[in-house]
């Protein structure tokens, strides 16, 4: 069967690829485009390690077909830092040691960035509910939640 030809935009750059119909967007990002920052924790929408933005909406890339990216704008963890300049969330996660093995971290960062863009001053409860679809087996969440709240707080002062 012929592969599907897809033209899309990833982190602001035009990208073309060929994919099988059965490949998910996560498979395409990792296996075809070597954008391995997005992780596969469950492949069933439960863990959020594969979180990306599609046309401005936070989604699980494991539940998006690769062919669906046609004409869309995709943002992944690889587009988060500005060159060597880390995003404030990335910087804060490092300072607070809000990660251990790091498998969940790209998903948390992409999801937290989406939250702060929509709601720059969230309550702790709002942060916890927004990130309920991101699972971490190592840190116990507190450092993650605190990092997001601190970034929001510092942005207010700036």
């Amino acid at each position: 069967m012929a592969k599907n030809h897809v033209t899309t935009t990833i982190n602001g750059e035009p990208v073309e690829y060929l994919c099988e119909t059965q490949q998910t967007l996560l498979d395409v990002l990792r296996d075809e485009l070597q954008l391995t920052g997005s992780k596969e924790g469950c492949a069933s929408g439960d863990c959020g390690a594969c979180s990306v933005m599609v046309d401005g909406r936070l989604v699980c890339s494991c539940l998006v077909m690769g062919v669906e990216a046609e004409g869309k704008s995709i943002e992944t963890i690889e587009g988060m830092a500005d060159g060597d300049q880390l995003h404030p969330l990335q910087q804060k996660f490092l300072e607070n040691a809000a990660l251990q093995c790091g498998i969940c971290t790209p998903g948390f960062l992409v999801a937290a960035k989406a939250l702060l863009e929509k709601n720059p001053d969230p309550t702790e409860t709002e942060v916890r509910y927004w990130l309920a679809g991101n699972l971490c087996r190592c840190t116990g969440y507190d450092k993650i939640i605190r990092s997001v709240l601190e970034v929001a707080e510092e942005a207010k002062g700036a």
């Binding site: 069967m1 599907n4 119909t21 059965q22 998910t24 492949a43 069933s44 929408g45 439960d46 959020g48 979180s51 599609v54 909406r57 936070l58 989604v59 699980c60 494991c62 539940l63 998006v64 077909m65 062919v67 669906e68 046609e70 999801a111 989406a114 939250l115 509910y129 927004w130 990130l131 309920a132 679809g133 991101n134």
Partner: protein, 288 residues
């Protein structure tokens, strides 16, 4: 999934013709939050997947003289962001907002939640209580189907080959109307309803209930529209006696399964409790 074809037409007619013409199994793809999981696990192996998200009518919604027509594939997050819709049909929008996480909300649709035909689908009892109507299109034209007539059993619908739920209409509300949906889950997020209850009721100026619809989820093969529950409320001031009758009617209507998530006894009792609590919230919303 080998050899599966993908099409993304931009009109209902094309989509319906593709589905009707498929030699093997064909599936609509809306948000994919059920379908992708089923494809990955091998539960379904369609020959054709028809993505309906390029069809404008399925991805937009409108309000006309107080009645909403919501594209069946509009992602839940978009519905929840609309303060007017949330204010009017709070129960329906909140029920859909219970589905999954933020990430799932970015894709999950009312049409997908309904057509996946899970007995525990959260938006379905809320839509049934609201009196929602599906606008269905197929090879033989269009028809209107009440939401409660779509699912016929777990994973089964009354849709014919080639038929698509294009949109869902929520009627114009009588002046003092409120709706609510509650579910019981063992956690606070990311879980499947053990019992769900949707209530929509209207009051006259004296506070007497003039109209009510009550629906229960996860306690039968499909979500139930329970007339006896509505009858317990209509003509009353939704006082303690009416609530007790509602509770009893809900318990009588529930015929749940026994599984690790809840026993028959537990689910039956919770049906009554949630019907009452949802009615109390709907009452408050109708009054305000």
């Amino acid at each position: 999934m080998n050899g599966m074809r993908y099409e993304a037409p931009s009109s209902i007619d094309e989509a319906s013709a593709l589905l009707a013409g498929a030699s093997g199994e064909a599936r609509v793809l809306a948000g994919g939050t059920d379908l992708l999981v089923q494809l990955r696990s091998g539960m379904v192996a369609p020959e054709l997947v028809v993505d309906v998200k390029n069809i404008e009518e399925m991805m937009t919604y409108s309000v006309n003289d107080g009645a909403y027509t919501i594209g069946a594939a509009v992602p839940s997050a978009q519905l929840h962001e609309d303060a007017d819709l949330l204010g009017m049909w709070t129960g329906v929008v909140e029920a859909m907002d219970l589905v999954g996480s933020t990430q799932i909300q970015g894709r999950a649709s009312l049409g997908g939640n309904l057509c996946n035909a899970s007995p525990a689908a959260d938006s379905v009892p809320a839509m049934i209580a609201a009196g929602a109507i599906c606008n269905v299109a197929g090879p033989n034209g269009r028809r209107e189907v009440p939401v409660e007539d779509i699912c016929t059993g777990p994973g089964q619908t009354s849709l014919a080959k080639g038929e698509i739920v294009v949109s869902i209409s929520l009627p114009k509300q009588a002046p003092r109307t409120g709706d609510a949906y509650l579910r019981f889950i063992p956690r606070t997020e990311m879980d499947i309803a053990v019992v769900g209850a949707g209530v929509c009721l209207s009051l006259d100026d004296s506070g007497t209930c003039t109209d009510a619809r009550v629906s229960l989820g996860a306690v039968a093969p499909t979500a139930l529209l329970v007339k006896e529950c509505a009858d317990a409320l209509i003509g009353t001031k939704v006082d303690d006696a009416a609530m007790a009758n509602l509770d009893a009617a809900a318990r009588a209507a529930a015929s749940p399964i026994d599984d690790k998530r809840g026993t028959v006894e537990f689910r039956t009792k919770v049906s009554g409790v949630l019907a009452r609590r949802a009615a109390a919230i709907a009452l408050e919303r109708a009054g305000s």
